[in-house]
């Protein structure tokens, strides 16, 4: 009989632990006293000790997952021994964020891939329907296959079969008469229903709050109700930036390089922080900490929430480096593969809804940052240049700042510095 090793209570306030890294892999032989894994609690990262001799037969909780106290982490036993996924573990507060593609019936452990640390509740305007924790969509195998083929999201379909099972006819009807998806894939695109489509806009339902949504809700509420926000706005002439970006992308196309406006903004933010370092700070009750490094995070929308991976030491990196890193972090975030170290430790945050056509918005501060930058879309509009009305391209930037740390004048200086860098973007390449 294999020994099931469960998540231990490693601190008095701990309820869940993040499995940072496995130090052994399945099939490795282990002995009592070996360190099996690194577990991050609300206080520290600690090593998980093995108290058995044998073979690590099965890992139930992958690296990066959040595991409730008492939930199974792995099994150690005799080599070749078959391990059943332990079912009916002690009720744990955390549970799997539902993934419609993989409805796991006998979930081996309440595993969450949501981060322990708050996944920066930034763009409050991005609303997502998250499916209930562990909720299964009943769908026949054929209907599931058809749904994949026809691109129908089964979560938007009402099943007509026994017990609400979705059957072939339901998918065929839905494919003919598409409804808006309950949740949009990457968060950045909105799949709308056809104009004039029949039927309800969505299925009436109550969806339990997922761990990630719970964290977002708690931190957003805390930020918005305890931090004295103030807001500044500035309009930037985007023409030089867009021209430079076009030139670079054209010239570097063969090398497979494609820089986004956001890459430049991340870089420019780091430069502006260097000029106005008071913004690169955080409030800690009895002290204000000023940070040496510009660790610039950026918000990535996920199907069931959002997260802010960090570009560390952005002040020391080139636009190209930042672009490469941001792409890789963005992909990891969408694949839910970000390690806690990759989304904690930011000192300033950038939230960009420009790609969704929003001209400007006022994001909520991501604690403990002192400010967050809201980036709108580039707008083509009449502008006055040299006393003439001409067609120009502008970008509106907003800064939400924590007045306990940053005063209006400091915030204004920061936005001014950012504007001047973005309007002479060649400086960013030096």
């Amino acid at each position: 009989m294999a020994n099931i090793i469960e998540m231990p209570k490693l601190s008095d306030t701990m309820t869940v632990g993040t499995l940072v890294k496995w130090l052994k892999k399945e099939g490795d032989s282990v002995k009592s006293g070996d360190m099996l894994a690194e577990v991050e609690t609300d206080k520290a990262t600690m090593e998980l000790e093995c108290f058995f001799d044998g073979t690590l037969l099965k890992i139930f909780s992958p690296a990066g997952s959040q595991v409730a106290i008492g939930a199974p982490l792995c099994a150690v036993g005799k080599p070749g021994e078959v391990v059943e996924a332990p079912a009916g573990q002690p009720a744990a507060p955390a549970a799997a964020p539902a993934s419609k593609e993989e409805p796991k019936a006998p979930a081996p452990a309440p595993v969450v891939t949501a981060p322990t640390h708050a996944p920066a509740p930034v763009a409050a305007s991005v609303s997502e329907q998250s499916r209930a924790v562990g909720e299964r969509i009943k769908i026949s195998p054929l209907a599931k296959k058809l749904a994949d083929e026809k691109g129908v999201d089964p979560s938007t379909v009402t099943g007509s079969g026994p017990g609400g099972r979705i059957v072939r006819a339901d998918i065929e009807a839905a494919a003919k008469n598409p409804k808006p998806a309950a949740k949009s894939g990457g968060g950045a695109t909105f799949t709308g229903g056809a104009i004039g489509a029949k039927g309800p806009v969505q299925i009436e339902r109550a969806v339990p709050v997922s761990t990630m949504r719970g964290v977002i809700a708690k931190r957003l509420l805390e930020s918005k109700t305890t931090i004295p926000h103030f807001y500044l706005e500035i309009e930037v002439d985007a023409e030089p930036l867009l021209a430079l970006r076009e030139q670079l992308n054209k010239g570097l196309a063969d090398a497979g390089v494609k820089l986004s406006v956001n890459d430049f903004i991340l870089k420019a933010s780091a430069e502006a922080l260097r000029k106005v370092p008071d913004v690169n700070a955080s409030w800690h009750g009895t002290e204000i900490r000023y940070h040496a490094a510009a660790n610039v995070s950026f918000a990535v929308a996920l199907p069931d929430g959002l997260i802010t991976p960090v570009v560390f030491n952005a002040h020391e990196k080139s636009v190209f480096q930042i672009s490469t890193e941001a792409k890789s972090l963005g992909k990891k975030a969408k694949d839910k593969k970000l390690q806690p170290a990759e989304f904690t430790g930011g000192t300033f945050c950038v939230s960009n809804l420009g790609m969704m056509g929003i001209p400007k918005f006022l994001p909520i501060i991501n604690p403990p940052n002192a400010a967050i930058l809201g980036v709108g879309t580039t707008v083509t509009k009449p502008v006055v240049k040299n006393g003439q009305i001409v067609v120009g391209q502008t970008l509106t930037l907003t800064l939400s700042a924590d007045h306990r740390v940053v005063d209006g004048a400091v915030g204004a200086q920061f936005l001014g510095a950012l504007k001047s860098v973005l309007e002479t973007p060649a400086l960013l390449l030096v």
């Binding site: 026949s140 195998p141 054929l142 209907a143 599931k144 296959k145 079969g161 026994p162 059957v167 072939r168």
Partner: protein, 326 residues
């Protein structure tokens, strides 16, 4: 083509094969002078004489054992069981000896025996005379199990069984003996073992069945089409082993819904095996769970009106088909 009964079709197959091959003999209780308990062998003694049509003592273990031995020495015996229910008396001879002989002898000894007789309920003959052992038989590698539904199939399949070099178990049905159908009188028209027959084309539901349940399923399919506008495909397995799973699979891929109908006790039945195979090979084709209609799980009920309801019948098939389409 001549229209004859299922009984006459079996008799014709026997007569043709006995005439064709001097090694073919028919043996069993009362098959000669009494013409068989169900009159299948009527006229054969008169035509072929007592060397070819042989009455045996009332001892299945004895005469089936004799047939197995004879088949190992080159005779092609057709052994009649008055009821297949009595196979258990000769279980060792049938399933330990006949089934294993070719394997145990390293392929040197064949056992070309045919054991035939009725295996069905529905005639108020009681629990000990109503067994349907096709699942038990088919559980033994090395044997062939045939359950014909129509007169034409009965003739063509029995002829193939007699010419086959492995033990062939041929399960007839006393209620079908009187059923008529068009049957070819071509003595070389054989129906190969292991080939299913789609008895009715359809697009909404596949009924996989065999034996008398084919008739029930066809009757239900006609009602479903007329009253419910449901198009049912009826796949008649004809042989349980070898199993023509390709035909089943093709039909499932066409209709995406499956009902198995069998005159079998449901536990570990032929339908159980079919359901396993279908979900394993066609999981993504299924638009609903595989349904099964079997005999209600109890010893054969003696009360005639209750026995009718214990077995599959057209009304039960109809209900089961609608459930499978839900």
């Amino acid at each position: 083509m001549p229209v004859i009964t299922y009984r006459e079709a079996i008799r014709a197959a026997l007569a043709e094969e006995i005439a064709r091959d001097e090694n073919v003999v028919l043996m069993g209780e009362e098959v000669a002078q009494f013409h068989g308990a169900y009159k299948v062998s009527e006229g054969l003694l008169e035509k072929f004489g007592p060397d070819r049509i042989v009455d045996t003592p009332i001892s299945e273990a004895g005469f089936i054992g004799m047939g197995v031995g004879a088949s190992m020495l080159g005779i092609r015996p057709v052994m009649e069981l008055m009821f297949w229910s009595f196979y258990s008396v000769a279980f060792d001879q049938i399933l330990n000896n006949a089934a294993n002989v070719r394997y145990m002898s390293g392929g040197l000894i064949n056992c070309p025996i045919v054991i035939r007789g009725p295996a069905n309920g529905g005639t108020n003959v009681g629990a000990t005379h109503s067994h349907t052992p096709e699942n038990v038989l088919a559980n033994h590698p090395g044997v062939k199990v045939i359950v014909p539904a129509t007169a034409a199939d009965a003739k063509g399949l029995l002829k193939s069984a007699i010419r086959d070099n492995d033990p062939c178990f041929f399960l007839e049905n006393t209620i079908l003996y009187g059923e008529k159908g068009e049957v070819s009188d071509d003595p070389e028209l054989l129906i190969p073992l292991g080939v299913a027959d789609v008895k009715r084309q359809g697009s909404d539901l596949t009924i996989v069945t065999y034996g008398r349940c084919v008739l029930h399923s066809l009757a239900a399919a006609a009602i479903l089409e007329k009253e419910h506008d449901i198009s049912v495909e009826v796949v008649d397995l004809r042989t349980i082993r070898p199993l023509d799973f390709d035909t089943v699979l093709a039909s499932v891929k066409k209709t995406h819904r499956v009902l198995v109908v069998e005159e079998q006790k449901p536990f570990a039945s032929v339908g159980s095996q079919l359901a396993y195979l279908i979900q394993r090979e066609a999981f993504d084709e299924l638009d609903g769970p595989i349904h099964r209609l079997a005999t209600i799980d109890a010893p054969a009920i003696y009360s005639p009106p209750v026995e009718v309801e214990q077995l599959p019948n057209p009304q039960r098939v109809l209900k089961a088909a609608l459930a499978a389409l839900a």
